[in-house]
């Protein structure tokens, strides 16, 4: 039975009638056409569908609509409008941290979730923060380097 679910999506109020157990991932892609959030495994293993829910990293394939009600959702499209996105993007480009790009939105959201809480992470903390995000082009070294550089440059600003 459908219910009205209201939340804040990328800073703007959003509302829809839907199955309260429907995946946030499907709502974002199908109802709001926010296709930057990718479906990889659909089981919470790969992190391609990562978004921030009330500032915390979550896999949107595991989040039912009912759990979003009254909360703030930030997707890669909303994150694009921020200075840290610009910094991370530049660092990813510089480090060659993007090949096919499918994992990149999730990687960026995981990096943002880390840097919000911990602007000067150690290498180990970066590895842990990205540990739920898989890259099958296997650019991990470049991705870790990109986040490390972004943290350093972010601190210098």
């Amino acid at each position: 039975m459908d219910e009205t679910i209201s939340f804040v999506l990328n800073g703007k109020p959003a509302s829809l009638r839907t199955d309260p157990l429907r995946r946030l991932l499907d709502i974002l892609r199908e109802d709001f056409a926010l296709t930057g959030t990718k479906e990889g495994c659909g089981q919470g293993e790969c992190g391609a569908c990562a978004v921030l829910l009330d500032g915390q990293l979550v896999n949107s394939c595991l989040v039912p609509a009912i759990a979003v009600s009254g909360k703030q959702v930030l997707t890669i499209e909303g994150f694009r409008a921020t200075p840290r996105y610009a910094l991370l993007r530049a660092c990813f480009e510089q480090a060659g941290a993007v090949q096919c790009g499918f994992c990149t939105p999730g990687m960026l959201m995981a990096a943002e979730a880390l840097l919000r809480r911990n602007p000067a992470p150690t290498q180990d903390e970066i590895r842990t923060a990205l540990s739920g995000n898989l890259c099958r082009c296997t650019g991990y070294a470049a991705i870790l380097k990109a986040v490390e550089t972004a943290a350093k440059e972010g601190m210098e600003r």
């Binding site: 157990l21 990562a50 829910l53 990293l57 595991l62 989040v63 039912p64 540990s131 739920g132």
Partner: protein
Amino acid sequence: MTGCCRPETLEDALSILSRQGAQVLAGGTDWMVKHGQQGPHGGPVLYIAELAELRQIAVHGGEIHIGAACTLTELLESPLVPDCLKQPLAQMASPAIRNIATIGGNLCNASPAADALPMLSAMDAMLSLRSHKAEERLPAEDFLLAPGKPRLAQGQLLVEIHVPLSPKWDCVYRKVGLRRANSLSKVSFCALSDKKAGYVQDVRIAFGAVAPRVVRSREAEKRILSSGHPLTDDQIQAIAAEYGKLLKPIDDARSSRAYRREVSLRLLKWYLREGMNA
């Protein structure tokens, strides 16, 4: 009730559970994998993740009381939660999953590979189970009846986990999995010791994922304590043989019976020889 129900209070949730069976949904990290893409969802669903009564962490007497719907991240960030309980939690899943997965969900899924249960069993944690009319305290160790079967009666909900705060254990935790993040345990090993003046006063050992239930033996723990210090090789072999009888590992996609047994006993022997006295 059809579809999905979101009670405002714990009392409402228990009242709904008492009137009709419902699938309980908390963090959803396992539930959504099983049910998220299909509909209808096979009966009513009771969403409890945001009930305030289930989200508290507080000290009462000599125990810490942890609400069943607290997320793993909340436990890891709480200064009240003992470090030895944080060790298995920190190695579970990945940050994004720890942000929504609940401690109660880990227990109620009743997987023999659930990583919170061996440590809770070793710490003599108790579970508070509530129904509309009654409250019951059950040792965490007795919660898993069989794979997939928690000891929850019709209408009962796991509401809190009670963990004794003393003694201050020296703790060893080892999880053996394919990789650091997002792997399910092939074997997990918990060992706690309470030392005074360098001598072990008390010891607890628990194994996960090597039998239908957590493996813990009070007889073997007593034997370790009464065997003198340090343990001789013969004593270590004899204690390992005792645990060997209790391990009932299986062959599955994650590992083999032989590997699980071998690794479990090697971890145990290492602990008795070195880890316990470190």
